[in-house]
Protein backbone atom coordinates (compact mmCIF):
# COMPACT_ATOMS: atom_id res chain seq x y z
CA UNK A 1 0.00 0.00 0.00
CA UNK A 2 1.51 3.26 -1.12
CA UNK A 3 0.86 6.79 0.00
CA UNK A 4 -1.27 7.52 -3.06
CA UNK A 5 -3.49 4.54 -2.24
CA UNK A 6 -3.99 5.95 1.24
CA UNK A 7 -4.85 9.34 -0.29
CA UNK A 8 -7.44 7.69 -2.54
CA UNK A 9 -9.05 5.90 0.37
CA UNK A 10 -9.01 9.06 2.47
CA UNK A 11 -10.81 10.89 -0.37
CA UNK A 12 -13.40 8.10 -0.38
CA UNK A 13 -13.78 8.42 3.41
CA UNK A 14 -14.25 12.18 3.14
CA UNK A 15 -16.76 11.55 0.35
CA UNK A 16 -18.76 9.18 2.56
CA UNK A 17 -18.79 11.77 5.34
CA UNK A 18 -19.80 14.51 2.89
CA UNK A 19 -22.62 12.37 1.48
CA UNK A 20 -23.86 11.79 5.02
CA UNK A 21 -23.77 15.51 5.82
CA UNK A 22 -25.66 16.17 2.59
CA UNK A 23 -28.33 13.71 3.65
CA UNK A 24 -28.68 15.18 7.14
CA UNK A 25 -29.02 18.70 5.73
CA UNK A 26 -31.19 17.98 2.69
CA UNK A 27 -33.70 15.50 4.14
CA UNK A 28 -36.49 16.46 6.51
CA UNK A 29 -37.79 13.03 7.47
CA UNK A 30 -36.15 12.03 10.74
CA UNK A 31 -35.68 8.40 9.70
CA UNK A 32 -33.82 9.47 6.56
CA UNK A 33 -31.66 11.80 8.62
CA UNK A 34 -30.74 8.91 10.91
CA UNK A 35 -29.78 6.77 7.89
CA UNK A 36 -27.66 9.65 6.58
CA UNK A 37 -26.03 9.96 10.01
CA UNK A 38 -25.04 6.30 9.78
CA UNK A 39 -23.46 6.96 6.38
CA UNK A 40 -21.66 9.98 7.81
CA UNK A 41 -20.25 7.92 10.70
CA UNK A 42 -18.98 5.22 8.37
CA UNK A 43 -16.69 7.74 6.63
CA UNK A 44 -14.42 8.36 9.66
CA UNK A 45 -14.52 4.62 10.37
CA UNK A 46 -13.05 3.95 6.91
CA UNK A 47 -10.44 6.64 7.54
CA UNK A 48 -9.37 5.05 10.83
CA UNK A 49 -9.13 1.58 9.28
CA UNK A 50 -7.14 2.83 6.29
CA UNK A 51 -4.68 4.75 8.49
CA UNK A 52 -4.30 1.74 10.77
CA UNK A 53 -3.60 -0.51 7.78
CA UNK A 54 -1.11 1.98 6.36
CA UNK A 55 0.91 2.14 9.56
CA UNK A 56 0.27 -1.55 10.50
CA UNK A 57 -1.08 -0.30 13.83
CA UNK A 58 -4.00 -1.88 15.75
CA UNK A 59 -5.14 1.52 17.05
CA UNK A 60 -7.08 2.15 13.83
CA UNK A 61 -9.30 -0.86 14.49
CA UNK A 62 -9.56 0.12 18.16
CA UNK A 63 -10.96 3.51 17.16
CA UNK A 64 -13.29 1.75 14.72
CA UNK A 65 -14.73 -0.28 17.59
CA UNK A 66 -15.32 2.90 19.58
CA UNK A 67 -17.05 4.49 16.54
CA UNK A 68 -19.20 1.36 16.27
CA UNK A 69 -20.25 1.70 19.92
CA UNK A 70 -21.10 5.34 19.38
CA UNK A 71 -23.16 4.51 16.29
CA UNK A 72 -25.10 1.81 18.11
CA UNK A 73 -25.97 4.11 21.03
CA UNK A 74 -26.83 6.99 18.69
CA UNK A 75 -29.17 4.88 16.58
CA UNK A 76 -30.94 3.43 19.62
CA UNK A 77 -31.57 6.83 21.20
CA UNK A 78 -32.41 8.43 17.85
CA UNK A 79 -34.97 5.80 16.90
CA UNK A 80 -36.57 5.94 20.36
CA UNK A 81 -36.84 9.73 20.07
CA UNK A 82 -38.25 9.34 16.55
CA UNK A 83 -40.99 6.95 17.69
CA UNK A 84 -41.81 9.15 20.69
CA UNK A 85 -42.02 12.36 18.64
CA UNK A 86 -44.09 10.66 15.98
CA UNK A 87 -46.52 9.47 18.65
CA UNK A 88 -46.78 12.98 20.12
CA UNK A 89 -46.86 15.14 17.00
CA UNK A 90 -48.14 12.68 14.41
CA UNK A 91 -45.52 13.73 11.86
CA UNK A 92 -41.97 12.66 11.05
CA UNK A 93 -40.89 16.06 9.78
CA UNK A 94 -37.99 17.35 11.82
CA UNK A 95 -38.95 20.96 11.05
CA UNK A 96 -42.36 20.54 12.64
CA UNK A 97 -40.86 19.93 16.08
CA UNK A 98 -38.28 22.71 16.08
CA UNK A 99 -40.16 24.68 18.76
CA UNK A 100 -39.55 22.22 21.64
CA UNK A 101 -42.53 23.58 23.55
CA UNK A 102 -43.54 20.21 24.92
Amino acid sequence: MTGSDLIGIMILAAGLFAVGVFGVLARRGMLFQLVALEVALSGPALGFIAAGAYHADPEGQGMFILVLTLAAAEVAVGLALFLRLRRITGTDDSDAISGLKG
Binding site: M1, T2, G3, S4, D5, L6, I7, G8, I9, M10, I11, L12, A14, G15, L16, F17, A18, V19, G20, V21, F22, L25, A26, R27, R28, G29, L31, F32, L34, V35, A36, E38, V39, S42, A45, L46, I49, A50, A53, Y54, A56, D57, P58, G60, Q61, G62, I65, L66, L68, T69, A71, A72, A73, A76, V77, L79, A80, L81, L83, D92
Partner: protein, 168 residues
Protein backbone atom coordinates in the same frame (compact mmCIF):
# COMPACT_ATOMS: atom_id res chain seq x y z
CA UNK B 1 -3.85 -5.48 -5.90
CA UNK B 2 -5.55 -5.50 -2.54
CA UNK B 3 -5.48 -1.71 -2.21
CA UNK B 4 -6.98 -1.50 -5.71
CA UNK B 5 -9.79 -3.75 -4.50
CA UNK B 6 -10.15 -1.52 -1.43
CA UNK B 7 -10.51 1.61 -3.56
CA UNK B 8 -12.97 -0.15 -5.88
CA UNK B 9 -15.14 -1.34 -2.98
CA UNK B 10 -14.91 2.08 -1.34
CA UNK B 11 -16.11 3.74 -4.53
CA UNK B 12 -18.98 1.28 -4.66
CA UNK B 13 -19.83 2.19 -1.06
CA UNK B 14 -19.72 5.89 -1.93
CA UNK B 15 -22.12 5.48 -4.87
CA UNK B 16 -24.60 3.39 -2.92
CA UNK B 17 -24.37 5.85 0.00
CA UNK B 18 -25.28 8.68 -2.35
CA UNK B 19 -28.24 6.61 -3.56
CA UNK B 20 -29.18 5.79 0.02
CA UNK B 21 -29.52 9.37 1.21
CA UNK B 22 -31.55 10.46 -1.83
CA UNK B 23 -34.24 7.75 -2.00
CA UNK B 24 -37.74 8.98 -1.13
CA UNK B 25 -38.79 5.50 0.01
CA UNK B 26 -37.52 4.47 3.46
CA UNK B 27 -37.16 0.79 2.56
CA UNK B 28 -35.09 1.58 -0.53
CA UNK B 29 -32.85 3.88 1.54
CA UNK B 30 -32.30 1.08 4.05
CA UNK B 31 -31.46 -1.46 1.34
CA UNK B 32 -28.89 0.90 -0.16
CA UNK B 33 -27.52 1.42 3.36
CA UNK B 34 -27.01 -2.35 3.63
CA UNK B 35 -25.23 -2.36 0.27
CA UNK B 36 -23.02 0.50 1.49
CA UNK B 37 -22.08 -1.38 4.65
CA UNK B 38 -21.33 -4.64 2.84
CA UNK B 39 -19.14 -2.82 0.31
CA UNK B 40 -17.35 -1.11 3.20
CA UNK B 41 -16.79 -4.51 4.79
CA UNK B 42 -15.15 -5.72 1.57
CA UNK B 43 -13.00 -2.58 1.63
CA UNK B 44 -11.93 -3.26 5.24
CA UNK B 45 -11.13 -6.86 4.37
CA UNK B 46 -8.96 -5.76 1.46
CA UNK B 47 -7.16 -3.38 3.80
CA UNK B 48 -6.20 -6.27 6.07
CA UNK B 49 -8.66 -5.45 8.84
CA UNK B 50 -10.62 -8.70 8.86
CA UNK B 51 -11.80 -8.29 12.45
CA UNK B 52 -13.27 -4.86 11.70
CA UNK B 53 -14.96 -6.21 8.55
CA UNK B 54 -16.67 -8.99 10.49
CA UNK B 55 -17.73 -6.53 13.20
CA UNK B 56 -19.13 -4.20 10.54
CA UNK B 57 -21.28 -6.95 9.05
CA UNK B 58 -22.38 -8.28 12.44
CA UNK B 59 -23.17 -5.04 14.27
CA UNK B 60 -23.85 -2.45 11.56
CA UNK B 61 -25.49 -4.56 8.86
CA UNK B 62 -26.94 -6.98 11.40
CA UNK B 63 -28.07 -5.24 14.55
CA UNK B 64 -28.37 -1.57 13.59
CA UNK B 65 -30.15 -2.14 10.28
CA UNK B 66 -32.55 -4.56 12.01
CA UNK B 67 -33.40 -1.73 14.44
CA UNK B 68 -34.16 0.49 11.45
CA UNK B 69 -36.29 -2.24 9.87
CA UNK B 70 -38.32 -2.58 13.06
CA UNK B 71 -39.05 1.15 13.03
CA UNK B 72 -39.85 1.18 9.31
CA UNK B 73 -42.39 -1.58 9.90
CA UNK B 74 -44.33 0.82 12.14
CA UNK B 75 -44.17 3.54 9.49
CA UNK B 76 -46.97 3.87 6.97
CA UNK B 77 -45.30 4.12 3.56
CA UNK B 78 -48.03 5.68 1.48
CA UNK B 79 -47.59 7.09 -2.03
CA UNK B 80 -48.41 10.54 -0.61
CA UNK B 81 -45.50 10.34 1.83
CA UNK B 82 -43.13 9.32 -0.97
CA UNK B 83 -44.21 12.18 -3.23
CA UNK B 84 -43.89 14.58 -0.28
CA UNK B 85 -40.35 13.39 0.41
CA UNK B 86 -39.48 13.76 -3.26
CA UNK B 87 -40.85 17.32 -3.38
CA UNK B 88 -38.95 18.27 -0.21
CA UNK B 89 -35.72 16.86 -1.57
CA UNK B 90 -36.14 18.61 -4.90
CA UNK B 91 -36.51 21.96 -3.16
CA UNK B 92 -33.67 21.66 -0.64
CA UNK B 93 -30.66 20.09 -2.37
CA UNK B 94 -28.37 22.97 -3.58
CA UNK B 95 -27.07 24.35 -0.26
CA UNK B 96 -26.36 20.92 1.28
CA UNK B 97 -24.56 19.93 -1.92
CA UNK B 98 -22.39 23.03 -1.61
CA UNK B 99 -21.59 22.07 2.00
CA UNK B 100 -20.61 18.56 0.93
CA UNK B 101 -18.35 19.85 -1.84
CA UNK B 102 -16.69 22.21 0.64
CA UNK B 103 -16.08 19.28 3.00
CA UNK B 104 -14.52 17.04 0.38
CA UNK B 105 -12.54 19.75 -1.46
CA UNK B 106 -9.47 19.89 0.86
CA UNK B 107 -9.20 16.11 0.68
CA UNK B 108 -9.50 15.94 -3.09
CA UNK B 109 -7.27 18.90 -3.93
CA UNK B 110 -5.04 19.28 -0.88
CA UNK B 111 -1.59 17.90 -0.27
CA UNK B 112 -1.29 14.98 2.07
CA UNK B 113 2.50 14.86 1.88
CA UNK B 114 2.62 11.05 2.03
CA UNK B 115 5.53 9.65 0.09
CA UNK B 116 6.74 6.72 2.17
CA UNK B 117 5.51 3.24 1.31
CA UNK B 118 4.21 1.36 4.31
CA UNK B 119 4.19 -2.38 4.47
CA UNK B 120 0.59 -3.62 4.25
CA UNK B 121 0.80 -5.89 7.27
CA UNK B 122 -2.63 -7.24 8.26
CA UNK B 123 -3.55 -6.29 11.81
CA UNK B 124 -4.80 -9.36 13.62
CA UNK B 125 -7.68 -9.47 16.09
CA UNK B 126 -5.22 -10.49 18.82
CA UNK B 127 -3.38 -7.20 18.54
CA UNK B 128 -6.66 -5.26 18.64
CA UNK B 129 -7.76 -7.15 21.76
CA UNK B 130 -4.40 -6.58 23.43
CA UNK B 131 -4.74 -2.87 22.67
CA UNK B 132 -8.34 -2.58 23.85
CA UNK B 133 -7.88 -4.42 27.14
CA UNK B 134 -4.39 -3.07 27.81
CA UNK B 135 -3.67 0.63 27.24
CA UNK B 136 -7.20 1.49 26.12
CA UNK B 137 -9.07 -0.13 29.00
CA UNK B 138 -10.36 3.25 30.16
CA UNK B 139 -11.79 4.01 26.71
CA UNK B 140 -13.56 0.64 26.68
CA UNK B 141 -15.04 1.37 30.12
CA UNK B 142 -16.23 4.76 28.87
CA UNK B 143 -17.82 3.08 25.84
CA UNK B 144 -19.65 0.67 28.13
CA UNK B 145 -20.83 3.63 30.20
CA UNK B 146 -22.10 5.27 26.99
CA UNK B 147 -24.05 2.12 26.09
CA UNK B 148 -25.53 1.97 29.60
CA UNK B 149 -26.58 5.63 29.38
CA UNK B 150 -28.12 4.95 25.96
CA UNK B 151 -30.00 1.95 27.35
CA UNK B 152 -31.43 3.90 30.29
CA UNK B 153 -32.24 6.84 28.03
CA UNK B 154 -34.12 4.68 25.54
CA UNK B 155 -35.99 2.98 28.37
CA UNK B 156 -37.00 6.39 29.70
CA UNK B 157 -37.98 7.83 26.31
CA UNK B 158 -39.89 4.77 25.22
CA UNK B 159 -41.95 4.30 28.39
CA UNK B 160 -45.71 4.22 28.09
CA UNK B 161 -47.34 7.12 29.88
CA UNK B 162 -50.91 5.91 29.64
CA UNK B 163 -50.62 2.72 31.68
CA UNK B 164 -50.37 4.31 35.19
CA UNK B 165 -53.32 6.61 34.54
CA UNK B 166 -55.58 3.85 33.30
CA UNK B 167 -54.89 1.96 36.52
CA UNK B 168 -53.47 -1.19 34.99
Amino acid sequence: MSSLLAIYAGGFALISAALSVTRPNAVHALLYLVVTLLALAVCFFALGAAFAAVLLIMIYAGAIVVLFVFVVMTLPISPEAITRERALLRRAWPLPLLMSVLIIAPFAFGEFGLTATGQPAPVSAQEVGRLLFGPWALAVELASLLLLAGLIGVRHIGRNDRSPRSGS
